[in-house]
């Protein structure tokens, strides 16, 4: 147990660049450490972006395959986090475009309630205690507020809240200056506030 903990601590100390080099030298365990390092936050981001758990699994796999293939061409001097989220976002957009093309006729007949992502609107057949029901309701409203944002703001907000990225990392992931990422985020906040006003304990934007 202690040995495993020690190995975990040591893995945290190894930079992405070193792990990338070790992978290229044939060390598959080094790549596994990279996957362990980023799979959970990436998956969470992708899942919120797509609103589809199974599809998030497929896209997560694609992102790490892309990472593995791209290792020889990546600059390994800096962390891979922003690059991974950039690829994840692009893959998500591809999936949503493809979905839209397939389900165009369905989308046309959507009413307001249906515009929530499946993640937000998924019915839960099992009986929930009051507290859990309330949490579920809060999640629906938060996801609904994010989904109501214009796409350029939505990416920034999801990278920030679901991906836990800094503005510097968001800037790199979206190929924009850090200041622009901050501005988009600040502009998105009143929209989120208005979307949630009267529903949760937030005051409307002035």
């Amino acid at each position: 147990m202690q040995v495993r903990e020690r190995a975990k601590t040591q893995n945290h100390e190894i930079t992405d660049g070193v792990l990338a080099q070790q992978t290229l030298a044939g060390d598959q365990q080094a790549f596994e450490v990279l996957v362990q390092r980023y799979s959970a936050p990436l998956f969470n981001f992708i899942c919120h972006f797509l609103g589809d758990y199974d599809q998030a699994c497929d896209v997560s796999q694609q992102v790490f395959l892309q990472l593995y293939i791209s290792l020889p061409t990546l600059r390994t001097g800096e962390p891979l986090k922003a690059w991974l989220f950039q690829v994840a976002r692009n893959r998500c957009l591809d999936e949503l475009r493809r979905k839209r093309a397939i389900h165009f006729s369905e989308l046309e007949s959507m009413n307001d309630e249906d515009e929530l992502s499946p993640l937000a609107s998924m019915p839960d057949p099992s009986p929930l205690p009051d507290e859990l029901a309330e949490r579920h309701d809060v999640q629906q409203r938060l996801q609904g507020a994010i989904n109501s944002l214009p796409p350029k703001f939505r990416s920034v907000v999801l990278l920030r809240y679901a991906g836990q990225l800094s503005f510097s990392e968001i800037g790199k992931a979206l190929s924009m200056p850090e200041a622009t990422a901050k501005t988009y985020f600040q502009r998105a906040k009143p929209l989120l506030r208005n979307a949630l006003a009267g529903q949760l304990q937030v005051s409307p934007a002035c």
Binding site: H48, Y53, Q61, L65, Q139, Y161, S203
Partner: protein, 97 residues
């Protein structure tokens, strides 16, 4: 008036500053659910990697590769997106443990 030297620790200068003050919207979205990946995700990724051509890192052109051919498609045997209603772990729940 006597000059009083102010001692400033390096840590005070070098410690990262918070990027912005947290407001009620930040606190609210701090409750956004953390959707946990299935335990099989990591093994699925590694399995996909093992199916790639062995010369993948020495190839000059990889544009002919279709990544979808290599991923392990997830098949829900127990009904749709059941995980969305299952072990979703909230950050605040995690923090309390």
């Amino acid at each position: 008036m006597q000059y009083t030297p102010q001692f400033v620790r390096a840590a005070d200068i070098q410690s990262p500053r918070p990027e912005a003050e947290e407001d009620d919207i930040d606190r609210l979205f701090g409750k956004l659910q953390q959707v946990e990946p299935p335990a099989s995700l990591v093994s699925g990724i590694l399995s996909s990697i093992s199916r790639l051509p062995k010369d993948i890192h020495t190839r000059k052109d990889v544009s002919d590769l279709n990544l979808e051919d290599y991923i392990e498609k997830r098949v829900s045997n127990e009904g749709g997106n059941r995980h969305l209603n299952g072990p979703v772990i909230r950050k605040d729940v995690n923090a309390s443990h």
